[in-house]
Each structure stands twice: as structure tokens, then as C-alpha cells.
Symmetry: C2
DNA sequence: ATCGTTGTATTCAACGTTGTAAAGCAGCTA
DNA sequence: TAGCTGCTTTACAACGTTGAATACAACGAT
């Protein structure tokens, strides 16, 4: 009951040809007699031969595997993104291996350092905790595409959503409803929290443009971007007697958490408080009320990322760092339009 | 600007030792002089050497990679499961590669056929569309653990939640609230939809035990298990004038979709209609009302799956097919307990 | 002095694959 | 028949790694 471990060699012996001929058949090389081809294929069938990818990769120096490193798979945004990335990669004959960094700086450094070196041909990386220096100090030369803010001057490509503009647009939308006490949930202390900073900047810019005063008490800091954090943040606001008449949350789970707290305490949405989120995850399309949100084109993010990566894997580090802006749109739903 | 491609050879040359010695250092072999070890490590550092996993794997016949094949990553249940599997696998030094089958029979067959053969050491597979025959006909001998119903007599291990018992318990809970017209959303026509069948069986058993008549008009069939399907199913029920006073949905997204339709049409939950789901995804913990649901121990599912797989990868196909029941509990929240 | 023993380092071959170069073998033309 | 051409097939080496076998000291015990 041991493993036969069939290789080209075995197929070759059975078909009465050389190893290379079998290899040629497997790879669809043109100049093979139909007769030979048939015979070889029969042998392959009979032995249930499968090419050994490790060997092939060793020979070719490529593995056909790319890694996608995200903070957590159970954050819907990343799950949806992963879904698209896996699909895009497959179209291009690539396999995706998923790393969860848990948003820990240590794990992210490991990823950037290339601890998967030689196993992956490229890396799509959505760092959260990594600083610009961390990324700049990267030694590994595996091609990499970064998702999210441009945090480094290194030679890595970036796929970016214009967070400032999007946050501004969402906040202006709230202001356009006549709301004057517009809160923000999702600010972060962390030096590395670039995304948070940009969305906050957009929020502030919008307030200014709308002629509204910026009130620090309406900006709530959070640890993470889960529903629990949003719920807690909203509770903090309310407990402090700072009931806003609108809230811009820096992502959808935060908004859904905030929504929960509001409804739980008897406030109406959007009546008492209008609510907007960011990311357009599926949950927000079926919550009650449905959630107004900034909808980045995730399909575009995924396909651009894969395209850029494939390009860089092919050409080596020829091109300088590219930065690609992916479109987004503000989707207005019930939570601001009851 | 070409790739230096450093290997043991280069490190060896720089350190002035043999290739094998470097290999020994890398692998932490005991009998190496501290002096030599230091020298080699310095060389490794200087050249930024990384072991080539393809080569190592070729040599050892193992890759350290396992695959997790699930229908879709953007179904929260699978995303959460993937999260745990990736984490468990990592603890055991394994890397996870994720395949999305899209619940297509064709893709699932491909996975079962082992199109990743020689790339993965094992497979954790959550099939949806595959029939028992498909699985029985599997040629590939990569160790495999199946998640979900036992659909085959083959030599594969199964991790199972007692769907009948869980569905029965959820339905009985609804009955215990005094509800008499209890609907079910999530039945499926597909021959392969074993899970759906079992949950339906549990539902029927509960009705019987509670002395309630089974009414076919209260059982709604769905295409898939997304929120959209649940919303549509609920609309169908209501449009047919069959307003139930409780609904057991075969998973949480269905329930959340149904909830959306109910609220949209002005029905109260749980006042008019009590609602229970299955899977305990995060969304249900923050919806309004929060969702009563069957909560399978996902952490246990993941760790058991990885354990079983590791075991089988080690021992070859010694043991017969094992079947492991994972605990679940009914979590009662607002949607049945307003 | 000889023999093991132990610790350290090396050589060799092999894992399964494919690129390169070249050989074999037709069917031609001259 | 010799020489050419184009198709088909082959032998060989190499990718980077590690297990097995082995060489070489240095050591204590006989």
C-alpha cells in the first residue's frame, strides 16, 4: 500500500518512448506524431500520471503561485476582495495562497521580508500596521503590489482608492441633507494607520467646505474596524451626550455596529441620525435601513492588482513604481435617505 | 539588474564550506561547530539567502501546502471558516491555498480529481454540488478531509455537524414560542444538496414532535444561499398570502435577507414573525433584531479538519474513514425573543 | 600501539522536470 | 547515390535541495 509516485520516467517506459517525448506531449509540443501522442496519452491515462509541480517549478524558476496577504479573511471587505483576486488570478493561470497577517506588525514584516520567497512568484499585499520605513527596508525582491495607501517610495506598485475624495464626498452628502453635527467613527492613533488618516482628512475638508465647525468630540477613535468597535464607538458618543445628527463611519462594519447601537437605544436612522459607511459590503445592502456607503470597485482593484503583478513578474523591476487610482462611487441608500 | 538567485552553493562558497554543511546549518542539524555555524550564518545573512522550497519539496516529496476548497469566499460562513483553517494550519507549519469552486460541479470535480496533485499534501474540501458517485470515483490519492455531510463511502474523513438535530432544535424552539405556522426557507431541488435535505428533515421532525401539520406551501426552495435568495423567498411567501408566524432559514444570509423583506414590508420581528438562522455569522450578531441561530463550533471544525488531515498525511491511508461530529449550540437572540 | 567511538564535515546521488543540442529518419532534389 | 531539408525523437545536463554513505580527526579505552 505504498505510493507508486509515477513520473515521466514511468510513463515513458510504458509507452516505449523517451522521457522528453512524454514531456513534449504533456506540454503540447507541436512536432509529435499523432501515433506517438496517442500512445503516450494512453500511458498517462493508465498510470494516472500528474506532473510534479515542484519539479517543474524548480526547473523553471517560477511556481505559478502568488500570495495575497490581508489582515483578516473574516472582515467582509477582504473576503470579497480575496474572492475577486482568486478569480482573476485563475484566469491568468495563477494560484493564490492567502496569508492572514492579523494586522500585526510582526506578521506583516514577515510577509514583506519574503518568508515565502521562492514559493511565490509575486505578492499582493494589503498592509495595515507596516510603516513606510518597514516597507522601504524590504530586502526581498519578489514582485509586489500594494493595496491601499501609498506608504513608501519604494519600487512597489500601488492600487489606490482616493480616500480623501471619497470621504469628503460621503461627508458632503451628509451635510447636504442639512445635518450639522456630523460625527466620524474610525479615527486611529496608530502611526501606520494611513487609511484612517486620509478618510479623516476628507471628512475635515468636507466640514470646512460645508461651513461646519470641526468638533473634536465628534471624532471617535477605534482599536479595530469591526462591528463591535463601531457599536462601542457609537455608545461612547451617545453616553457623552454628544448625539450627532449624522455619522460617517470609516468602513461598513463600523457603520453596522453603530447602527445597531442607535436602533438598540431607540434612535431612528436616518430620522434622528443619518449614517454612511465605506466599502459597500454585502451586509449593508440588506440591513434595515440599507446602508449608504462609498463603493470602491473591488473587481477593478483585484484585476488591476493582478495585472500589475503579472506585468512586473514578467519584466523584472524595469518600470518605476506605478500608482493606479481605482474608481469608487457613493451609493445612497436608506440610511441617509429614509 | 538580473537576479542573483542565491542557493546553498553560493553560501557555501562564501563561507568556505561544503554545500551540505550549509544545508545542515539551515536545518538546525546538531553536529556543527559553533564557529562554522556562525560563519555560515554570516554568509547567509550577507547573501540574503532563502531556501528554495520547490527544490526542498521535490527532494522530500512534500510541499507543506494544503488546499482548502470552498464554494465562495464571500459567503461569510466560509470566510470565517477559512480564517480558522488558515490559522490552525499555520500553527502546524502548513500553508493554505484556497480554491473557490463556485459551487460548480465541474470545478468541484476538478478539485476532487486532484488537479493540484503534487502541489498540495492534503485537501480540506467542502463540496456542494458533488454527488456521492463523483466522490467515490475519485482517483487521486491525496489525503482529503470533507466538511459537511457524509456523501460517500470512500476512505475520506468527514467533519460533520448534526444537521438534523440542529435543525430540529431550532424549529422546536420556534414552536415553543407558540408559533404554529412555521415556514422553512432553503430547501433545494438539487440531488447533491445533502445539507439542505438534512436540515429540512430536522424541520419536519420537529413539526411532527410539536404536533404541527406539515404544510408544503410553507417550504420555500432557493437557488443559492445568499441574502438575495432569502429576501426573494420571503417575498414569495408573503405574496402567496402565506404569512407564517415563524421562519427557520437554512443559513444566516437567507435569514438576513428574509428579515430585510419582512421589515421592508412593515412586519415586525419577532412580533409578527419569529426568525431563526443557521451558522452564526458575525452579521447576525449586530443586525436589528439580532438573529437567533444555530452556532456550529467553527473553531472546532477547522482544528479537527486540520488535525485529521495532518494525521492522514502522516500515516498514509491506514485508518478507515472517520467521521467526527462537531458540537453546535442554539443561540437565542432577539429575532425570536423580542 | 591499536581499536573503537564520537563529533564534524564532505562526496555522491537522486527527487521530476525541461532547455539545448544533436541525432535519426524520412522524403526530396540534383 | 550523395546531399539537403524538415520533421520527430533523443541524450544530457541542470534547477536547489537533502539522505546515505563516508572520510577524517581527536579521544578514551583496551
Amino acid at each position: 500500500m505504498d505510493k507508486p509516485r509515477v513520473g515521466l520516467k514511468d510513463v515513458a517506459r510504458l509507452a516505449g518512448v523517451s522521457v522528453k517525448t512524454v514531456s513534449n506531449v504533456v506540454n503540447g509540443y507541436v512536432h509529435v506524431t499523432p501515433a506517438t501522442r496517442t500512445r503516450v496519452q494512453a500511458a498517462i491515462q493508465e498510470l494516472n500520471y500528474r506532473p510534479n509541480l515542484s519539479a517543474r517549478n524548480l526547473r523553471q524558476g517560477r511556481t505559478g503561485i502568488i500570495a495575497l496577504a490581508v489582515p483578516e479573511l473574516d472582515i467582509p471587505y477582504f473576503a470579497e476582495l480575496a474572492h475577486f483576486v482568486v478569480a482573476c488570478a485563475e484566469e491568468r493561470g495563477l494560484t493564490v495562497l492567502i496569508d492572514q497577517t492579523g494586522a500585526s506588525r510582526e506578521r506583516e514584516q514577515l510577509v514583506a521580508e519574503g518568508f515565502r520567497a521562492h514559493l511565490i512568484d509575486g505578492l499582493i499585499f494589503s498592509p495595515l500596521a507596516l510603516t513606510a520605513e518597514d516597507l522601504a527596508a524590504r530586502m526581498d525582491d519578489t514582485p509586489m503590489v500594494l493595496l491601499g495607501e501609498r506608504v513608501s517610495e519604494g519600487p512597489a506598485d500601488h492600487i489606490v482608492v482616493d480616500n480623501v475624495a471619497a470621504a469628503r464626498e460621503a461627508t458632503l452628502h451628509l451635510a447636504s441633507l442639512g445635518r450639522r453635527r456630523i460625527a466620524a467613527i474610525g479615527a486611529q492613533d496608530d502611526v501606520a494607520a494611513e487609511t484612517s488618516r486620509l478618510r479623516l482628512a476628507g471628512y475635515h475638508r468636507a466640514l470646512e467646505e460645508a461651513g461646519l465647525p470641526a468638533d473634536d468630540r465628534l471624532v471617535v477613535y477605534v482599536e479595530a474596524y469591526h462591528r463591535a468597535d463601531g457599536a462601542r464607538a457609537m455608545a461612547t458618543l451617545l453616553d457623552a451626550g454628544q448625539r450627532p445628527d449624522a455619522v460617517f463611519c470609516f468602513n461598513d462594519p463600523l457603520a453596522l455596529g453603530a447602527l445597531r447601537t442607535l436602533l438598540e437605544r431607540g434612535h431612528t436612522v436616518p430620522g434622528d441620525v443619518a449614517l454612511a459607511g465605506f466599502d459597500d459590503i454585502e451586509d449593508g445592502r440588506y440591513s434595515t435601513p440599507t446602508l449608504t456607503t462609498v463603493s470602491p470597485d473591488k473587481q477593478a482593484i483585484a484585476s488591476q492588482a493582478v495585472d500589475l503583478l503579472v506585468d512586473r513578474m514578467a519584466k523584472g523591476s524595469q518600470a518605476g513604481a506605478r500608482e493606479i487610482y481605482v474608481p469608487y462611487k457613493l451609493v445612497i441608500r436608506e440610511s441617509t435617505n429614509g
